[in-house]
């Protein structure tokens, strides 16, 4: 596709739709949650008309004494045709440990580190070989190309207008977390801050409060207790999601929607949770050592070591992913909620393990279902 932006426009128009609340424009998006890869499939971008990538910059964790940045993104985000929304994940434990002056300090640190990382990314972008694949016109002279790169690079950084904070805050941390959000916004007027909203926060705004941001991202995944062997599917379960969405009060700020697009295995030994087995370790070599109990549960047929974990014969692996039919049912529920217009629908998360041939039609079906 020579002009992917034309396709975006076509898709956006296609997805321009009418819900009970009025016309809705769907903005397809992805979360990008890896630390060192800059993999973005052109197929996803072009066929789904992806317009936004929510890129996790780093986590903020509590090291026992102070907040620290953890797992920073080390790749180079080199796709300037897509709006990039930086995301910082903050553990609730961090918020539990800081007071209001700590919030102010943390807001300063998050702003500082984010800007430094983005500047570095921009700098790398200017010199990256990949740059000319995306932007540079081969007809340009070397000097013209350099100028073009600098101009486009600067535009790339300036084009970041939106910043998201992800935190599973609770009633006990809401005051400090909200204060942190206010400080972040005050320190960074050039960005509009949004916050992720988990289902329990959506259902109980009177308890957990509403973050002081312009918009939220309703996260419709990780709905159940991962570590409980009795859990059917911790990533996504329609009956669980329904409990939160049905009869929920109107949420006071506009909400975009995040849906799951990932898979993992959850390992149990003697009925106790052991670990998460990532998708990339669940290939044929692993699966042939397991026997199916039912659609989602597998039993180890032998002792073996996988990803530095010792698996015993008889151990149970629960394979989890979101069921397409359940997702579509959930969308019907979501359509009755008061969502943002235009509505960003973001899939979590973009990675090289996604089977493009299978995933793209499913994502298209989901995006269309918001119609």
């Amino acid at each position: 596709m020579k002009h992917p932006l034309l396709l975006f426009a076509a898709l956006v128009l296609t997805l321009h739709c009418h819900s009970s609340a009025g016309p809705t424009t769907i903005i397809p998006a992805f979360y990008f949650w890896q630390t060192d890869s800059d993999y973005i499939s052109r197929n996803f971008v072009e066929k789904l008309g992806v317009q936004k990538i929510f890129l996790r910059l780093f986590d903020v964790a509590w090291d026992g004494q102070k907040p620290i940045p953890a797992g920073p993104y080390r790749g180079v985000f080199s796709y300037t045709g897509i709006e990039m929304v930086p995301v910082v994940f903050i553990t609730n434990e961090t918020i539990q440990h800081i007071d209001s002056s700590g919030c102010l300090d943390l807001a300063t640190r998050i702003s500082r580190k984010s800007k430094a990382m983005l500047r570095r990314m921009e700098s790398s972008l200017r010199t990256s070989n990949r740059w000319d694949l995306v932007f540079a016109d081969s007809a340009l002279s070397e000097t013209q190309r350099e100028d073009s790169l600098v101009r486009s690079g600067n535009a790339w950084l300036r084009n970041i207008r939106h910043f998201q904070i992800d935190c599973d805050w609770t009633a006990s941390t809401r005051a400090r977390y909200f204060y942190l959000l206010e400080q972040l916004q005050a320190l960074n007027p050039e960005w509009t801050f949004s916050a992720t909203i988990r289902l329990h926060q959506y259902k109980n705004p009177e308890k957990t409060g509403v973050p002081p941001v312009k918009s939220g991202m309703l996260m419709c995944y990780n709905v159940d207790d991962l570590k409980d062997q009795g859990t059917e599917n911790s990533i996504f379960n329609y009956s669980e999601v329904r409990k939160y969405l049905q009869n929920a009060p109107k949420y006071p700020i506009p909400l975009d929607v995040a849906l799951p697009a990932f898979r993992w295995g959850v390992l149990f030994h003697l009925n106790q949770f052991q670990c998460i087995i990532p998708d990339n370790a669940l290939g044929p070599a692993t699966m042939e050592r397991l026997e199916a109990i039912d659609k989602t549960h597998f039993r180890a047929r032998m002792d073996f070591t996988l990803n530095d974990h010792f698996i015993r014969e008889g151990d149970i692996l629960r394979l989890e992913s979101a069921d397409q039919k359940e997702l579509l049912k959930t969308i019907q529920l979501l359509r009755s909620q008061s969502l943002a217009q235009p509505l960003t629908v973001s899939f979590f998360h973009l990675n090289s393990n996604l089977d493009e041939d299978a995933a793209i039609p499913q994502f298209q079906e989901i995006l269309t279902a918001f119609n």
Binding site: S123, S124, D303, T305, G314
Partner: protein, 797 residues
């Protein structure tokens, strides 16, 4: 997890749950799943037979496997900076370069590795004043050492620019200044390096300093990597392989290597050649890339390092790579580490449940542990795992035996390993030749050999003869004195005691098992979960009987003890806790008079200070149900006075059954309070729990082993005696207030039982609840104890 110090808090919370009128949620058991640390893992084969302290982090232990931060580390574990040979080699190089024998190693080490850059740089104008008496600083001030002094200042200057997270800790202006200063320093050091006048000592040092500085400060990845590689190739690669500067240079090079196989290979080289970078290179080594790394290896030793690193990440079976190393490099230094880990795995999987009656800390098999609260999906697998692991043990042993003729330096390691594996497999005769063949007599080898001799003795001698016991005491006292303290958890002495206790267990001598376990502090390993006091009674309480408890008392009180008896009982100044247990056992059997006679042997001061009696036993159980907000009485009870009062009341009701309504009520109250719902449950048991004795959760055993179980259970869980006496009070009394009290308590018992039934969610009011509502509405007791649930239920009816 429920620690004992929190236990009291939870307990108070639990017993304050309203007795009646609140529909109780079925309480879930605080089941203790799994274990923490190496405290409860059976490990008899020393992991430190490699005799290299830098390997400590790679032993098969909970602490190091899961230890992600300092909080998880045993307090007396060695700090790796203290044991690294790398720094000592650098110190030796400096000492040779400075050519001044008067320079102390500690001064050199302190300035090079334990002095912050600012301290040295701020003190450079008057260094001897800033570091008074430091022989290294003094030597550097001599004109001949001017270049060395200049380098040291450059080194410390460079150390200022080796920070991660500058963008987190510094303002933007500071960051800009930092980057500019770092770049300026890089330029300055590069110019110095290019000068031809640097000595052979300083040239690689400047190169390494520059390389490291670039590693932390390069903004352009591609260009930075090229420059770092160039520095390494020009200045560090020509050094000897053993030169630590080269190895440290490789460490940074490995982190920049884009090829996964070569990256793993370089990390393996660093792991192999450096001590201080061992942990980091292990972290950076991706075991999935081990096979890709092997083709880069230049020799068998490098292949062994790669295979070892892979297996250090393997909590499962590593025989395949052990076999390859035995074939490829039978004298590999890593065999001690890998063979030790493999034997420790087997000890954990197979023998931790058997010898310590617990799961073990890592990847346990669960054999011998009761999972009766669970679905039985694992029942068959547990047996399979054990059989397979035993088979694996034998295969490992055969593999090591086969390799024996090929090795010289590992001969004694393999002798110890093969003998140990035979003994674990109960083949003492086969083990003997390998034990006697061990020649090496270093402390840890001597310790391991002594352990093997001890195991052999246990499997071949009659343990009850004075001669054998004398030999055992000698070995045990020696072990206790000489055991290595490298690891806090798997204490060799305690493990030997566990082994011996298990041998006695097979003969059914519960008294000996208890004394051995207590002397070996095996139960106090559970210190975080139950009290030291109860840990001494735990085994007898679960598995003992009246005779075995009496036998322990006799052994403690015996005048002329054998050395073995003295060894076992020397920690006890008296037998009071065992009298306490014995009396309690009689109580559970309903033999109150006998129990009282036992409790009378214990001084009154015992009940004030022992266990948690001051908190849980002093309340009056006869006149007060705490949850009914009945007033406290002035009476302070202990087991002796409680048993005495119980006996008096029992005699009263036997003598004048028709005129004993108040005695019946007191007995009803008492037995209610002795149940798990009451306030004096500690009269009958040492720990409150939904399932029985609290510590039984810890070992994963339900209290079905409690002897005799039926009577205790009938009262503790089902309140049968309380019910009996309340009914008698209701039948015999003419006093409406007393009858109302009895009816109310009967309703409570009824309801407590009902809510233990599966799926008993709805509001329930039984026969006695109805009777209470219908017959006693006019009583003061009824008015003082309104029950909305009963009232709502009856009114709806």
């Amino acid at each position: 997890m429920l620690r004992f110090r929190n236990f009291r808090k939870y307990l108070l919370l639990l017993i304050s749950i309203p007795l009646l009128c609140n529909q109780p949620e079925p309480a879930s058991a605080c089941w203790y799943d799994g274990s923490e640390g190496d405290d409860i893992r059976f490990v008899l084969f020393r992991p430190d037979l490699g005799e290299n302290p830098a390997w400590t982090t790679f032993y098969y232990t909970y602490f190091y496997y899961y230890g992600q931060n300092s909080f998880d580390w045993p307090k007396d574990a060695p700090k790796f900076t203290d044991v690294s040979k790398d720094e000592h080699l650098i110190v030796a190089q400096w000492k040779a370069a400075i050519n001044s024998p008067a320079v102390r190693d500690t001064d050199l080490y302190g300035i090079l590795f334990n002095t912050r850059p600012d301290s040295l740089l701020n003190g450079q104008t008057a260094p001897e004043k800033a570091f008074p008496g430091n022989t290294f600083i003094q030597a550097l001030q001599k004109p001949a050492n001017q270049a060395l002094w200049a380098y040291l200042l450059d080194l410390k200057e460079a150390e200022k620019y080796m920070m991660l997270n500058v963008d987190w800790d510094m303002s933007e202006t500071q960051q800009t200044d930092y980057a500019a200063q770092a770049e300026s320093l890089i330029q300055r050091l590069s110019r110095k390096l290019e000068k031809q006048d640097l000595s052979d000592f300083l040239k690689p040092r400047y190169a390494f300093t520059l390389l490291r500085l670039k590693f932390y400060n390069t903004s352009d990845k591609t260009e930075g990597i090229a420059q770092i590689k160039d520095l390494y190739n020009r200045y560090l690669a020509p050094l000897a392989q053993t030169d630590i500067l080269q190895v440290w240079g490789l460490h940074y090079l490995a982190q920049l290597e884009p090829d996964a196989g070569r990256c793993a290979y370089l990390n393996a080289l660093v792991f192999d050649r450096s001590d201080s970078k061992k942990v980091r290179s292990h972290q950076l080594f991706v075991s999935a890339n081990a096979d890709k790394a092997l083709p880069f290896a230049q020799n068998a030793s490098e292949r062994s390092a790669i295979r070892t690193l892979k297996e250090l990440n393997n909590p499962g079976k590593s025989l395949d790579n052990i076999r390859k190393i035995l074939t490829d490099e039978p004298d590999s230094k890593y065999l001690a580490l890998l063979v030790g880990r493999e034997i420790n795995k087997l000890e954990n999987w197979i023998f931790t449940p058997e010898y310590l009656q617990t799961n073990g800390s890592m990847h346990y098999s669960g054999i011998g542990v009761d999972y009766s609260d669970r679905e039985d999906v694992y029942d068959n697998y547990a047996q399979k795992w054990r059989a397979r692991d035993l088979e694996y043990l034998r295969t490992l042993r055969k593999t090591l035996q086969t390799a024996m003729p090929k090795t010289k330096t590992n001969a004694d390691l393999l002798n110890l390993a093969v003998a140990h594996l035979y003994l674990l497999d109960q083949q003492a005769a086969a083990a003997l030749p390998f034990i006697t063949a061990v020649q090496r007599n270093t402390p840890v080898y001597a310790l391991q050999k002594r352990l093997l001799e001890f195991s052999y003795l246990m499997q071949t001698a009659n343990l009850n003869t004075p001669e054998t016991q004398q030999k055992m005491v000698e070995v045990l006292r020696w072990l206790e004195k000489n055991q290595s303290k490298i690891l806090t958890g798997p204490r060799t002495f305690s493990m030997a005691m566990a082994l011996l206790a298990n041998t006695y267990k097979k003969t059914g001598q519960a008294d000996m098992v208890a004394l051995l376990q207590n002397r070996g502090e095996l139960k106090t390993f559970f210190g975080g979960y139950c009290s030291v006091f109860y840990s001494h009674l735990h085994y007898l309480d679960q598995y003992g009987d009246l005779e075995s408890v009496q036998s322990v008392i006799n052994r403690i009180e015996k005048k002329n003890k054998t050395p073995f008896e003295a060894f076992l009982t020397e920690q006890y100044a008296n037998a009071n806790p065992f009298y306490d247990l014995l009396g309690t056992m009689y109580l559970r059997r309903g033999q109150t008079e006998k129990a009282l006679s036992i409790f009378e042997k214990v001084p009154d001061t015992y009940w004030i200070s022992a266990y948690e009696y001051a908190y849980y036993l002093e309340d009056d159980p006869f006149h007060r149900i705490r949850t009914l907000a009945m007033p406290e009485t002035f009476d302070v009870y202990n087991k002796k006075t409680m048993a005495a009062r119980l006996l008096t009341l029992e005699k009263n009701v036997q003598a004048l059954p028709a005129q004993s309504d108040t005695s019946y009520l007191e007995l009803g109250n008492a037995w209610y309070n002795f149940s798990k719902y009451g306030n004096s449950w500690m009269f009958m048991t040492y720990g409150w729990s939904e399932h029985g004795l609290f510590p039984t959760f810890i070992s994963g055993e339900l209290p079905d082993v409690l002897q005799p179980e039926a009577l205790f259970k009938a009262n503790y869980y089902r309140m049968e005696k309380a019910e009996y006496y309340y009914k008698k009070a209701l039948e015999t009394s003419q006093n409406a207030e007393l009858k109302a009290h009895a009816a109310f308590m009967l309703a409570a018992i009824d309801q407590n039982r009902y809510y233990k039934l599966p799926k008993s969610k709805e509001v329930y009011v039984g026969e006695f609840g109805k009777q209470y509502y219908v017959q006693f509405q006019q009583t003061k007791f009824f008015k003082d104890h309104p029950c909305p649930m009963i009232e709502n239920f009856m009114q709806k009816k």
